[in-house]
């Protein structure tokens, strides 16, 4: 009896000591250099190359302006996963996610208290569109959404529960069908659009956790078609990948938000630097770098200057097609949502 008590007591003591000793070591390291600051960036997976180039430039600018050295800690996860991590206590100072809904989750948790959409771009830092990636030479003859429903096709798209890109993909596909850009689906016919969604999802063989993992899977030779961001395909091609991509006649405009997380910056005393970083991302200089890495600029002048790499889309629609994220999320990805129902029906059948 006595022994057991001692064991339990010791376990408790050790766990407290352990928790305690990890903490000072960490805060100590960030504060040890006088005047040095650390910004924590919690981002989604696809713009990591762009941030790899943007961060060093901002560090130089910040040092020139304030004489302060600034270091960055970066984390890249699927947009939904990253958003949940921040809500669970990952203290990111700045968050750059795939979609507005994931920032709203952080705001709803009370961690973002300012009006983050009170900017000329409504809080958006970059745009992209949903495209179809195919193998070199397009051996399966894919030209538009309608071709994805053919039998014996292997399609990759990430999991909408963890990946923001995946939600854009589903909405692009569904929206194009509903707007009459898939031959077998009459315009405004919800039932036919759902049947088309089901037919395409039936061809999906791998659902990765994030857009980047999905494209890496595609690069390993799995799948005939990948539904993904335009910028993912362009960055892949810049890295020597031989795949091609097709811009469907009708697709959705992807709008990626960025926001300062108030709770984190107030705790870390990094508000000034965090806000300066977000402001920097909106400058033409930074916007040109986003454009270099395949993202369509939110700055009209930069967008015009880089237009040759970004062909216009015949029928480009936005999230407003679905009444904004506040409606699109429950309608498609909620427990009774269209996507959720369709995928569970397919799983039950197989």
């Amino acid at each position: 009896m006595k022994n057991r008590f001692i064991v339990i007591l010791l376990t408790l003591i050790i766990s407290v000591v352990l928790a305690g000793c990890g903490q000072p070591a960490e805060t100590g390291s960030t504060e040890s250099v006088q005047g040095a600051k650390t910004l924590i960036l919690g981002a989604y997976t696809t713009p990591r190359e762009a941030y790899g180039k943007l961060i060093p430039i901002f560090q130089t600018r910040w040092q020139q302006k304030t004489g302060q050295e600034i270091t960055f800690e970066e984390s890249y996860l699927g947009s939904g996963a990253q958003s949940r991590a921040i809500v669970e206590g990952f203290e990111a100072d700045v968050t750059a996610l795939s979609l507005e809904a994931d920032v709203i989750r952080i705001k709803d948790a009370g961690l973002i208290t300012h009006d983050w959409q009170a900017t000329p771009t409504k809080g958006m830092v970059s745009n992209s569109i949903v495209v179809l990636g195919v193998r070199e030479g397009n051996p399966k003859n894919i030209h538009d959404w309608a071709d994805l429903a053919q039998p014996d096709l292997e399609i990759l798209t990430p999991n909408p529960k963890t990946s923001g890109g995946a939600q854009w993909n589903i909405l692009a596909l569904y929206g194009a069908a509903r707007r009459g850009f898939v031959d077998s689906v009459p315009a405004h016919d919800e039932a036919a659009a759902q049947a088309f969604l089901s037919a395409v999802l039936n061809n999906v063989t791998v659902m990765d956790k994030g857009a980047r993992e999905s494209i890496i899977t595609f690069e390993k030779g799995i799948g005939d078609v990948i539904i993904t961001y335009e910028n993912e395909m362009m960055v892949g091609q810049q890295n020597g990948q031989k795949y091609e991509y097709i811009i469907p006649r009708s697709t959705i405009l992807i709008e990626n938000p960025v926001a300062v997380v108030d709770a984190s910056v107030d705790k870390h005393g990094t508000r000034e630097a965090a806000e300066a970083f977000v402001d920097f991302l909106m400058t033409p200089e930074a916007q040109e770098i986003f454009a270099e890495f395949g993202l369509r600029s939110v700055d009209p002048a930069v967008a015009q200057a880089t237009a040759e790499h970004y062909p216009p889309v015949e029928d480009l629609f936005t999230i407003e097609e679905f009444g904004g994220w506040s409606q699109a999320t429950p309608t498609f990805f909620g427990d009774e949502g269209i996507f959720t129902r369709t995928i569970s029906q397919l799983q039950r059948r197989s």
């Binding site: 928790a19 990890g22 190359e49 970066e74």
Partner: protein
Amino acid sequence: MMNSTKMRWPAVQPAPAAGMWRRQLLIGLVFGYVGVLIIAPLAALISGAFSEGLGAIIYALSQPDVLAAFWQTLFIAVIVVVLHTVFGTMMVWVLVRDHFPGQRLLNALVDMPFAVSAVVVGYMLLLLFGRNGVLAPLLAMFDIKVAFALPGMILATLFVTLPFMVRELIPVLKSFGIQQEQAAATLGASGWQTFWLVTFPALRWGFVYGIILTFARALGEFGAVLVIGGGIQGRTETATLYIFRALDERMYVGAYSAALVLGLLSLSLVLGTELFRRWRE
């Protein structure tokens, strides 16, 4: 004294000439099985790592974030091994030498990490230590960070490695029996003296194997530390998390060579112990 704890292989029976081809077939089959399962992937990994030459490997492995990730992994593994050696010994002692209500439950709980997916472990810890977790108010009061910090990653690794030390030690302690301890006691040894001079030496190979397995498992942990740590570059990134990130960034040489180092580390631990054991006997 060692005989009681050492496994004895039965002597090989000379095969009759007629069964010769059957024996060769069996050996070939076993080699093929191991080859496909272990040697082929290992060879692919080696060729991937060396695809751009040794210089590229050295460059990739000497990057500060890679070094930080390996230090993080080693630090966690060492802490975990030390804690499991201390608490594992206590646990084995009460499980083998004591009888108390709830003993069977405790015994079964030790095996739970074998059955629970590592990712689930990470989420369980988040539910406990996350911002909305059960212990969140307590942690906030003392400004202790567990989730998305080192303590959480250590706890996660402790969880997944729990059974190894205990399961190595229990059979050894059981088969050792209590006669020698009783003899020591009748000769006037104190409890501690008996433990250090009689019981502990008898358990030493159990400890060695327990430590090796715990260490190797801690090196390789991925899912639990990803969920609880968040994979922040240079802060909560272990070697396995670095490999995961490097693949996402298309830094294949970095990913493959880090994987190779981890694999070789585990392999040399296991082989090293085996050689050491033979040399000792």
